[in-house]
């Protein structure tokens, strides 16, 4: 009986750690989706790109992954700005989604072309092994990833709540027309949010690259999880995204522990489809 409780606690702790990382991973998608109403299908591919940038700056130049992470986020921010200015702003709605899906395909296959399908992993020498807390194992790389994610998510929430730009972003989220009448330059808000959203996935991609081995095609798995989280959490609600990340993280960990690991990827899709069926606006989102 004691053993059972230990297994359960272990599964839940693993799930919480995973959920925390998911929350940062999905925050960029949630932001772009909320502000522009565009589900950015290329989000996960940019996360993989960030993982590669971090990997190469670490292996070739020897820059610490936690600094490389910031570096790759800055690069992604620039890419996001350019992409919005010259591509995304020309199309809208469904066409924008199709465009971004094709951009994702382009980047994914370019990465396969350049760096092959080989799995790579970022090994941080001072983050090996795990911490043992009352019989529950917490791998230190996951713990570090979790802490960075939660702090990052907290900073994002603070930024959106209390700064001028953050307030402008939220106003645009609620009603772009009214926001522009209040003197907010909606176009530059779009530009900035798109860059920020992609940069956020850059952080998350680097963290995932430290925890899991990756190759360009893992983006397909990640994007499924991200869409599930954002739709389940509700459009335009960062709080919803956070709760949904935790739920999906914990449920997939529980399924992986008690049923079989092969079923845990299905959880995200099942939750996504059920949400769209029963309550398309998600947990805390506005009506769609």
């Amino acid at each position: 009986m004691i053993g059972d409780i230990a297994t359960l606690t272990q599964a839940i702790v693993t799930g919480i750690l995973l959920g925390g990382i998911y929350s940062l991973m999905s925050s960029g998608l949630s932001l772009i989706f909320g502000v522009m109403d565009i589900p950015n299908a290329s989000q996960a591919v940019f996360a993989v790109l960030a993982a590669y940038i971090t990997y190469w700056t670490y292996t070739l130049v020897g820059i610490d992954p936690f600094i490389g992470m910031v570096f790759s986020a800055i690069i992604l921010f620039a890419i996001g700005i350019v992409m919005y200015k010259y591509m995304v702003s020309r199309v809208s709605g469904l066409m924008a989604f199709t465009l971004l899906y094709m951009v994702a395909m382009f980047l994914e296959n370019t990465m396969i072309f350049v760096w092959t399908n080989l799995y790579r992993g970022i090994r941080v020498p001072y983050l090996t092994g795990s911490i043992n807390i009352y019989g529950i194992y917490v791998p230190s790389d996951r713990l570090a990833g979790f802490l960075i994610s939660v702090i990052g998510f907290g900073l994002l929430t603070y930024f959106l709540k209390y700064t001028y730009t953050g307030k402008a972003i939220r106003a645009t989220m609620q009603n772009p027309r009214a926001a522009s009448l209040m003197g907010i330059n909606v176009n530059s808000i779009y530009l900035f949010s798109f860059g920020l959203g992609i940069a956020l996935s850059g952080f998350a991609g680097a963290i995932l690259g430290i925890i899991y081995p990756f190759n360009p095609t893992v983006a397909d798995e990640w994007i499924g999880v991200m869409f599930a989280i954002v739709v389940f959490g509700g459009l335009g609600s960062l709080m919803g995204t956070f709760i949904a990340s935790m739920i999906i993280g914990i449920v997939s960990s529980l399924v992986g522990t008690y049923a079989s690991l092969v079923w845990s990827p299905l959880i995200a899709f099942a939750i996504l489809v059920i949400t769209l069926w029963v309550r398309p606006s998600g947990l805390m989102g506005r009506k769609v």
Binding site: M87, V91, L94, L99, N109, M111, T116, V262, P265, V273
Partner: protein, 312 residues
């Protein structure tokens, strides 16, 4: 007879006699795969092009058709000529089931839902080992004919399905249903307010659009004699269907045909000239991005607008 009819008839005759005049089997093989993608693209065109509901998971219907044929032929010895249409029906049934929750969704939500469902089906096929053979896939018995006859038979099966798909699209375009679908694409609320039963129409479009890819999925399984989940639930099948149609012209009869003919050849050339993995899809998605940004109405649309050429 009008000029258009003569062109269509000549093309049909040419395609029918190709296997007899082709110098090598390679060309027949190439054409039958091209027909397969044209059917999937034309099927996608019914829901995506005419109705404006972009399905990103058409590979699901193809894969379901493939598995229907593979399971029935390999395990129960049913004649493949029965299982081909049956695969289409299974795909249509699946479309009916998922249509209920998904067809209420607008725009990108529908795209996300169909994309996820196709991923989910692939995971299911990988793990329901007793039924699907799991990751090891399913091996079908070899066709009883020699290789030449087999490829010819497969070729004609694909050609017949293609003709049926194009005929359906053409009739749809001329009918009130087609008009209703275009109406839904342009403005669903307006369509509803003038008395169109939008739910019913969307279901008709989705079912038709799933049926034909299901049929060619079955033919493909019989032709390949071996299928596994990554091959028949490949997301690139959905992508090809979307890009072929958009390149040719979404919501037109000839669009998917022209688009598939050109882009399938381009894809093949890209794959044969530079064999490093990833290259062909790189070229392909670059073409797709260019179309979306600079030629949103596709080739047929551009011909109609700029050169005043009337194409159905």
């Amino acid at each position: 007879m009008s000029r258009n009819k003569i062109i269509v008839l000549a093309l049909m005759v040419l395609l029918v006699i190709v296997p007899f005049i082709s110098p090598e089997l390679f060309y027949v093989d190439f054409l039958l795969l091209m027909f397969m993608y044209t059917v999937i693209a034309a099927g996608w065109n019914i829901i995506g092009g005419y109705t404006g509901y972009y399905s990103f998971g058409h590979t699901a219907f193809f894969g379901l058709g493939a598995y229907t044929t593979a399971i029935l032929v390999a395990k129960y010895g049913v004649s493949p000529f029965i299982t081909f249409p049956l695969g289409g029906l299974v795909a249509a049934l699946f479309a009916f089931v998922i249509g209920y929750p998904t067809l209420r969704l607008k725009g990108a939500y529908f795209a996300i839902a169909t994309l996820s469902l196709s991923f989910a089906l692939q995971i299911l096929a990988l793990n329901l080992t007793p039924i699907t053979g799991g990751g090891e896939g399913l091996t079908l018995p070899l066709p009883p004919w020699d290789i030449h006859t087999t490829i010819m038979i497969i070729y004609y099966m694909m050609l017949i399905t293609l003709a049926a798909t194009v005929a359906t699209t053409y009739l749809l375009e001329k009918s009130r249903i087609g008009l209703a679908l275009k109406c839904i694409r342009d403005d669903e609320i307006a369509a509803e307010s003038v008395g169109i039963n939008t739910t019913m129409m969307k279901f008709i479009a989705f079912l038709l659009s799933a049926f034909f890819p299901g049929v060619v999925g079955g033919i493909f399984a019989y032709y390949a004699t071996y299928i596994d989940p990554p091959t028949v639930f490949d997301p690139r099948i959905s992508m090809f269907a979307i890009v072929f149609t958009m390149f040719g012209g979404a919501g037109t009869v000839t669009g998917p045909i022209i688009g598939s003919a050109i882009l399938f050849t381009v894809d093949l050339l890209a794959r044969y000239t530079i064999t490093i993995p990833g290259f062909d899809l790189m070229v392909f998605s670059a073409i797709a991005i260019t179309i979306i940004l600079f030629m949103p109405h596709g080739l047929v649309g551009t011909l109609r607008e700029k050169f005043k050429i009337k194409l159905p």
